[in-house]
């Protein structure tokens, strides 16, 4: 690697930190007349932690250089399908940095945080309006946590009703989190296949429904970018047998402000504020996976909920039926504030126009790709896609042996981030692409051009292409070595133990 590990740079005896009030420590020791060594006794740590210390300038340089070896939306497009990697407005960063947010302790008395609570209250109202739900809980720190909350709400709802429903229907095109969340909540997952036109197979759905059915977890538009046009019918079917509908909000971006999950018949929904509402993804998190519900289900939302009485804002802990807390405190406040800023600035019309633009971008890209050989658009290519689309590189693979992964690595080599690959599972050699409204037309054209070039290179020299990327800070990495029981190395500590002669195998 081109930047050394901190262990190569630092020394535990060095430090770049000046401790506050260090001049008082000697006096404190004198006054107390005991030391932590004495008081902690055998609980005192006998050696200082093996954490290399660096001066401030060395810390800055190390992380600055590593940041330059990283790639986010501020560098170029990150068209990962279902990830909604839109631009993160700088004004949100500025506002979220305000000490009047950052310096608030979660246990401060409510009257000392009324401004922030007002913001959160407005955000909750807006999200309920946007989704067609009654109430939202801001607690859930990520989409998957929202799904878990939703699945637990469904579980508790039926327990309270005295019904023994243990099956959750999940389409085969669903995000992996859906079945995983259902399973964590104790449900058996029943997989529903996708029909030829890319939507839920209605016959299979009918066949799956029973008195054991607790509900269905759907995302609409689905991961093919196709709107489930028979959604009202699906909702009727589920509701008519007393089951519930859960909406996975990861794919909301293309329909936000145009059609609401509540109006489609969903009972519970989570939203990924770090996708749809402009909060950044942070290289993996923090996110905010607000969960909303309507009708009776709203009483099951994780508490506390933000509430208002007169002109006073407060946290409502009342919890007759609710599933309890999904985490400590109230939620990931920073991305919540960023979502507040995002919605406040765009307003309803701006959100709607953003959604429309994201869909135009998707379909414009499809139009550009129609003339490019090597890729195909499976499942009714004439149907408009919404927030995203899924291409298949199957023709290219058949013709040249070049796979979706090779295409992805060739894109990296051109300085472009790859799409999501091999997902959804129902598309072979899938390239799942979502530009969002943030990509300039020029960039979409460049991306289509890059895919065209790669197809050409694949025909000319597939072997060379399979050795890409080269223009990145490292070449293609060895996944077998990375995961092999005898070489897997999750920490420097493990490496050190191996270097000291231990045989460590997983």
């Amino acid at each position: 690697w081109s930047e050394p590990l901190v262990y190569e740079l630092g020394d535990p005896n060095n430090s770049g930190f000046v401790r506050p009030y260090s001049h008082e420590d000697a006096e404190l020791e004198r006054i107390l007349d005991v030391t932590p060594e004495e008081m902690l006794g055998h609980m005192f740590r006998d050696s200082i932690p093996n954490i290399p210390g660096l001066s401030e300038v060395e810390v800055v340089r190390h992380f600055t250089r590593l940041s330059q070896m990283s790639y986010g939306v501020d560098v170029g497009p990150v068209p990962l399908g279902s990830c909604t990697m839109k631009y993160n407005p700088k004004i949100s960063e500025e506002i979220a940095r305000d000490p009047r947010i950052r310096y608030l302790h979660p246990y401060q008395d409510p009257e000392t945080v009324q401004g922030l609570l007002e913001m959160l209250y407005l955000l909750e109202r807006w999200l309920a309006e946007l989704t067609g739900m009654d109430r939202c809980s801001l607690q859930t720190p990520a989409g998957a946590a929202g799904e878990l909350a939703g699945a637990l709400m469904i579980r508790k709802y039926f327990i309270d009703k005295g019904e023994d429903r243990d099956e959750m229907l999940v389409p085969d095109s669903a995000h992996g989190t859906n079945p995983a969340s259902a399973a964590m909540a104790g449900f058996k997952v029943v997989r529903i296949p996708t029909s030829e036109n890319g939507t839920v197979d209605m016959e299979a759905l009918d066949a799956a429904l029973s008195e054991r059915t607790a509900g269905i977890m759907l995302t609409n538009p689905n991961t093919l970018g196709i709107f489930e046009d028979r959604i009202l019918e699906i909702a009727d079917k589920l509701h008519s047998i007393g089951a519930l509908l859960y909406y996975d909000g990861a794919n909301l971006n293309g329909i936000m402000g145009i059609v609401r999950p509540g109006d489609m018949g969903f009972d519970i929904i989570h939203l990924n504020l770090h996708k749809t509402f402009g909060a950044p993804h942070g290289g993996g998190g923090p996110g905010a996976g607000v969960v909303c519900a309507r009708g009776e289900l709203a009483e099951y939302l994780p508490r506390p909920l933000i509430a208002k009485k007169g002109d006073r804002y407060y946290w409502d802990y009342e919890c007759k039926k609710c599933i309890g807390r999904i985490r400590m405190f109230y939620g990931n406040i920073i991305p919540l504030v960023k979502a507040f800023v995002y919605i406040a600035m765009l307003g309803g019309r701006g959100l709607r126009e953003s959604a429309i633009q994201s869909v135009i971008n998707t379909n414009y890209f499809i139009a550009l790709m129609r003339s490019v050989d090597g890729y195909e658009l499976p499942y009714d290519p004439e149907k408009p896609r919404k927030h995203e689309l899924v291409l298949s590189a199957k023709p290219l693979k058949r013709e040249t042996g070049v796979t979706a992964e090779d295409v992805a690595k060739a894109l990296l080599d051109k300085g472009l981030h790859a799409p999501t690959i091999y997902f959804p599972l129902i598309v072979e050699e899938a390239l799942m692409i979502e530009f969002t409204e943030s990509e300039p037309r020029r960039q979409i054209e460049e991306y289509a051009g890059a895919l065209r070039e790669i197809a050409g290179e694949a025909r000319r020299n597939p072997t060379a292409l399979k050795q890409l990327p080269r223009n990145t800070s490292t070449g293609r990495l060895d996944n077998v070595y990375a995961n092999h029981p005898r070489s897997v190395t999750p920490t420097f500590r493990v490496l050190r133990r191996r270097l000291q002669g231990e045989q460590l195998s997983l």
Binding site: F17, Y71, I101, D109, G176, N272, P280, L346, I360, V494
Partner: protein
């Protein structure tokens, strides 16, 4: 050099009432041309598969009735935030698992590097080696602080890490009984209960010793049986007490073939023995004290660590980054490892549904740890110990007050008991601009209206502490 000629035929643009600053192609000309290429006349044709009866007729009623400029928003937000009260002089004395720590400016500068914060999860390692290296460094540094071998790149917070640790222990042991110390943070207890809702777990709580604040070893011994999957204790616990019975607990737990799960404050480990040293199997905690600030409760950084054990690692939730080499063997690099545990591959058989985590906070914690170094962490923890003990000593000297309330040795947080209900003291402190301790009247497991949980850190000068003590002293 292809130059876009801009200097001919410039027409004043028709003022658009709505401008989408974050949607570059949303100008009229681009839209028109793109729609033409798509082959539709109107963008709404792209929605012709949506049932017309549910299409919204009007844009949703959110925001403030119109688009806002940055300046309008800033003024609006400023008027809202002016209603918040920030305590810095003195900093809050609130305890309760989260304390006011100082955040070096260099941490914020690093988090402001937009290549980091606008990145997605590094699924494509070659283009994101920087982030991956930072994550690997976080895992490694945290592992060395805990003296555990494997650390994931983060859980949401301490509470969900604890819940996931228990779920993992249930999968590893295939047992359903869970023993939890009665002196853990009550909110964490609630979270554990929620997460176990679907798992038919049998949670047993072990009462703590009301004198010392520590786990009652006899009761613990009597509660664990051969059906027990795991025992969960916290060091320090809700009362700030460093339980010196952990080795005995480890012995009891392991004798019954259960797993020992320990929750820690990582900053305490500058002076307190590491959980690795007393045989913890899984360690959880929150790295908030390591440079993360308060943020009114989040985002924080859930720590999850295990011993080097095949079953434990295979059942670990969350993302792991590992060292590897290039296919041609010429260089080292970093990539996500053991992904077959995760939901995007294993779906309903995954170890957890977690995908988005608190990765950026791991960047902060990594930078914080190396800025301090082992010696800096030691010194800082020592200084906090001195300050919190000074505060307890001085509060304890007040007439009829008891501080610390429990005899067990403590770090950073401690409980104090007063001769009158703490609520009234708290209100009176607020009037003086002092945010006192956390009232424990409604907090399990204590529910004592005379008690409060104080936290004193490096942010508190002696003068700050004296101000608190004198203010309370005047009220008693």
């Amino acid at each position: 050099m292809s130059i876009n000629w801009c200097n001919t035929a410039l027409q004043p643009r028709v003022s658009q009432s709505l401008r989408l600053p974050w949607a570059p192609a949303a100008n009229e000309r681009d839209r028109r041309e793109m729609l033409k290429r798509i082959g539709v006349n109107d963008a709404m044709e792209l929605y012709n598969d949506v049932p017309p009866e549910i299409m919204l007729k009007e844009p949703p009623n959110v925001g403030f009735g119109r688009q806002l400029s940055e300046w309008e928003l800033q003024r609006l937000v400023d008027s809202m935030l002016s209603k918040n009260k920030v305590f810095t002089d003195p900093p809050p004395f609130l305890g309760g698992g989260i304390c006011f720590h100082t955040v070096p400016a260099v941490i914020d500068a690093i988090l402001s590097r937009s290549e980091f914060y606008t990145a997605y999860t590094p699924y494509q390692p070659e283009i994101n080696q920087g982030l991956l290296q930072v994550f690997f460094e976080y895992q490694s540094l945290m592992a060395d602080l805990l003296e555990m071998d494997v650390v994931n790149v983060s859980m949401y917070d301490w509470s969900t890490a604890a819940a996931e640790a228990i779920l993992a222990a249930m999968r590893v042991t295939r047992k359903k009984r869970i023993v939890v110390a009665g002196n853990i943070h009550p909110e964490r207890m609630e979270v554990i209960e929620t997460w176990l809702l679907g798992k038919e777990a049998d949670i047993r709580v072990v009462e703590f010793d009301r004198e010392t604040g520590k786990v009652d070893l006899d009761r613990l011994e009597n509660t664990i049986d051969s059906d027990t999957a795991a025992v969960y204790v916290e060091v320090p616990n809700f009362f700030g007490v460093i339980d010196d019975g952990v080795e005995a607990i480890a012995e009891i737990v392991h004798r019954r073939k259960a797993l020992f799960i320990v929750g820690v404050d990582p900053l305490s480990l500058g002076i307190v023995r590491s959980p690795g040293s007393y045989e913890a199997d899984i360690v959880v905690g929150d790295a908030q004290p390591l440079g993360l600030g308060l943020n009114y409760g989040g985002p924080y950084l859930g720590i999850f660590a295990t011993r080097w054990d095949r079953k434990l690692v295979r059942q670990m939730p969350g993302r792991l980054i590992g060292l590897t080499k290039t296919v041609d063997g010429s260089e080292y690099g970093f990539t996500m490892i053991l992904q077959t545990r995760e939901q995007h591959i294993r779906r309903e058989k995954a170890t957890s549904n977690i995908t988005s985590n608190e990765a950026l906070m791991a960047v902060a914690a990594a930078a914080y740890m190396v800025l301090l170094g082992g010696s800096g962490l030691r010194e800082l923890a020592r200084s906090i110990w001195l300050r919190s003990h000074y505060a307890a000593k001085r509060l304890g000297e007040l007439e009829r007050a008891k501080a610390p309330q429990f005899s067990g040795e403590f770090f950073k947080e401690f409980t104090a008991r007063f001769p009158k209900p703490y609520h009234s003291i708290h209100r009176a402190l607020l009037e003086k601009g002092i945010m006192g301790g956390l009232p424990l009247a409604d907090k399990p497991p204590l529910m004592d209206e005379y008690s409060a949980l104080f936290c004193v850190t490096e942010a508190h000068s002696m003068k700050d502490i004296d101000r608190l003590v004198e203010a309370i002293g005047e009220m008693l």
